[in-house]
């Protein structure tokens, strides 16, 4: 029995329930927020160490043996993702202590944050496809409520698009699960993989693969299904944006990785070819969208889309090196992107605006913030020796080795354009003098030292993570390599869950 598989789900659920009980006490809710996310981080690290040492961990919930009950499965990819959930959860919880207003805290910001983390962790750890749907919904409901916290006009407009497209995606997912059950008569992912392998009729399997691809593609914000993301991610309070940017789309990417390595890997010439061109267009459209924007968070939102393309490219190339690159990229991206959103929040707090033309002179007044931004921004663009360089390098090298030259060229070009967007933010917000025009200038707000420390600490922490990954990539490389090996050998997953060697039924 391995309790550490269930703990990353139970701790946020419990913390969320506890902060609901302490609805009236703001101090208690804040303490629980930090304690709960720290607990999540610690248990998830424990889980990752166990998985790394002893291989895939499985827990049959309620003692029902697979495939009849629900299995919780932690392989390396899942465990890595849960650790990242803990890291981002803790960083955002600390940041929200200072940045989330009292009004939002009174409307249940912290319980919803815990619920969201529970949904995300559950999605990473479940081994049952219908259970995955349920965790998606847990996550979605929490994210809906977080998105409209404050009920301002842009939030409402963004939320309608976000809710509609995510619900359509959920329905597609549900329909695909139903059809899959009709074909193979099981919901356990390992069992599905085993039974599909012995199925004759692959035409219907391709149809199902495409349905899953579209459903998860909407969640992951892949081309041409990403339009809900730039319409909504810049509207909520910045801590919420950072949480969403770090985790939500990556759940979609994780689901794509899981489903297209474990279940639908029979005809990579068809499905993975589509994924590959989807990835290329995702990269390109995201980065071009960002080039047209002049608002801090909107630029960052479009860059989420373009970065998703790199991860999916890693999956689509489907070689050990490419999958390794995809996993490495996910880790790098979650840390860096959350950090950039948090920095945009600090800048907004200091200057009162996200619009680039109203900003300026941050470097002169707060050089430390400018350095932190530079570390994350250059890492996003892929400058050595930061984490983004290695992530891009591995994916592009995998592309060259797989002789997918067109896609690789696009990936290189997108890297350059990312640098263009980041220099645009740097020039406008940090380097140029503050605007003289009275109409444009927003009076600088007084920010207390304590607040600044609370908001600065997670940003510094995440920037250090980026630097450490960049300077010492070996550890993460080895971990990503092992997880890629696991993903490309689905029979090990099947054997761990079902307890019998994969292959025939």
């Amino acid at each position: 029995m391995t309790p550490q598989i269930a703990l990353p789900i139970l701790i946020p659920l419990f913390a969320g329930a506890l902060s609901l009980v302490c609805w009236r006490s703001r101090t208690m809710q804040r303490l629980i927020a930090v304690g709960g996310t720290a607990g999540l981080l610690i248990t998830s690290c424990w889980l990752l160490m166990t998985v790394n040492r002893e291989g895939i961990q499985v827990m049959q919930v309620g003692g029902w043996s697979a495939p009849f009950g629900i299995s919780l499965v932690a392989d390396l990819l899942g465990a890595i993702m849960v650790v990242l959930t803990g890291v981002i959860g803790l960083a955002v919880a600390l940041f929200s202590l200072a940045s989330i207003g009292r009004g939002h805290q009174d409307y249940g910001y912290f319980p919803l944050m815990h619920l969201l983390l529970a949904g995300v962790a559950g999605a990473f750890l479940t081994g049952d496809i219908f259970n995955l749907y349920v965790w998606f919904e847990v996550m979605l409901v929490a994210s809906f409520a977080l998105l409209i916290l404050g009920s301002e006009k842009p939030q409402m407009e963004g939320a309608i698009k976000y809710v509609t497209l995510n619900l359509v995606s959920s329905v597609l997912f549900l329909v695909a699960v139903g059809l899959l059950y009709g074909m193979v008569g099981t919901l356990n992912m390992a069992d599905i993989a085993r039974r599909l392998a012995s199925l004759e009729d692959t035409g219907m399997v391709d149809v199902l693969a495409m349905m899953f691809m579209v459903a998860f593609g909407i969640k992951a914000a892949a081309f041409p299904l990403f339009f809900w993301l730039p319409a909504s991610y810049h509207t909520p309070p910045v801590a919420v944006s950072a949480l969403f940017a770090g985790l939500l789309t990556k759940v979609g990417v994780y689901a794509l990785f899981r489903v297209f390595t474990l279940i639908f890997h029979h005809s990579p010439g068809y499905t993975h070819e589509i994924l590959q061109w989807g990835a290329a267009l995702t990269m390109l459209s995201g980065v071009l969208g960002a080039a047209a924007q002049f608002e801090f968070r909107r630029i960052l939102s479009f860059h989420i889309v373009s970065q998703i393309g790199y991860m999916i490219l890693g999956l689509a190339l489907f070689t050990p090196l490419a999958i390794l690159g995809g996993v490495f990229y996910i880790v790098h991206h979650i840390i860096v992107k959350t950090n950039l959103f948090l920095i945009s929040g600090i800048v907004q707090r200091l200057r009162g605006s996200y619009r680039l033309e109203a900003l300026g002179g941050v470097y002169r007044d707060h050089p430390w913030l400018a350095v932190l931004f530079l570390v994350s921004a250059l890492s996003l663009a892929g400058m050595p020796p930061l984490s983004g360089f290695f992530a891009k390098f591995i994916v592009i090298r995998a592309g060259l080795e797989a002789e997918a030259y067109g896609v690789t060229a696009i990936a290189l070009l997108v890297g350059l354009l990312t640098l263009y967007s980041m220099t645009k933010i740097w020039n406008e917000a940090f380097w140029k003098a503050p605007p003289d025009d009275e109409a444009d200038r927003v009076p600088p707000r007084q920010v207390g030292q304590r607040e600044l420390w609370l908001m600065g600490a997670p940003v510094v922490g995440l920037a250090i993570c980026t630097l450490v990954i960049g300077l010492q990539p070996d550890a993460l490389y080895a971990l990503a390599e092992a997880s890629a090996a696991q993903l490309l050998a689905p029979e090990r997953y099947i054997e761990a869950v079902l307890g019998t060697p994969g292959g025939g039924v």
Binding site: F130, V134, E137, L140, V141, F144, A145, I148, S151, E152, K153, P154, M156, E157, G158, A159, I160, K161, V163, T164, L167, V168, S170, V171, L174, V175, V177, G178, L179, Y181, G182, G185, L187, F227, P230, A231, S232, H234, T235
Partner: protein
């Protein structure tokens, strides 16, 4: 029976998509409701329809003696109904709040955040 179900699921999906393509956000929510119902009916149908064969195990035996209806899809549909109910009630409240804030029932007047 299956063909009747198939046709009605198809009609439900088509109606849902038609409603969602309208500009009114109230119609959008109605479309979402129809969509989730269509999905539920589809799960119910794909698992196979069988009349008068409850999944009961006779006393003293370990397994049912003849083919029985599969109870699992019904459990799935039940879960999906509950989830859809929660999510759609959120959507209804959202539409109401959006109307209060934006003062419009028209998606064309809600595109400030798009560009």
């Amino acid at each position: 029976m299956e063909s009747l179900m198939a046709v009605s699921i198809g009609v439900l999906f088509a109606t849902a998509i038609y409603m969602m393509l309208r500009r009114s956000i109230v119609k959008l929510v109605i479309g979402l409701m129809l969509l989730s119902n269509a999905a539920n009916l589809l799960i119910f149908t794909t698992a196979g329809m069988r009349r008068g064969a409850p999944p009961l195990v006779p006393e003293g035996l370990g397994a049912p003696t003849s083919a029985v209806a599969d109870p699992l899809p019904q459990a799935l549909v039940l879960t999906a109904i509950v989830i859809a109910f929660g999510v759609l009630s959120f959507a209804v409240v959202l539409v109401r709040r959006a109307w209060e804030v934006v003062r419009a029932d028209d998606l064309d007047q809600m595109k400030d955040t798009d560009t």
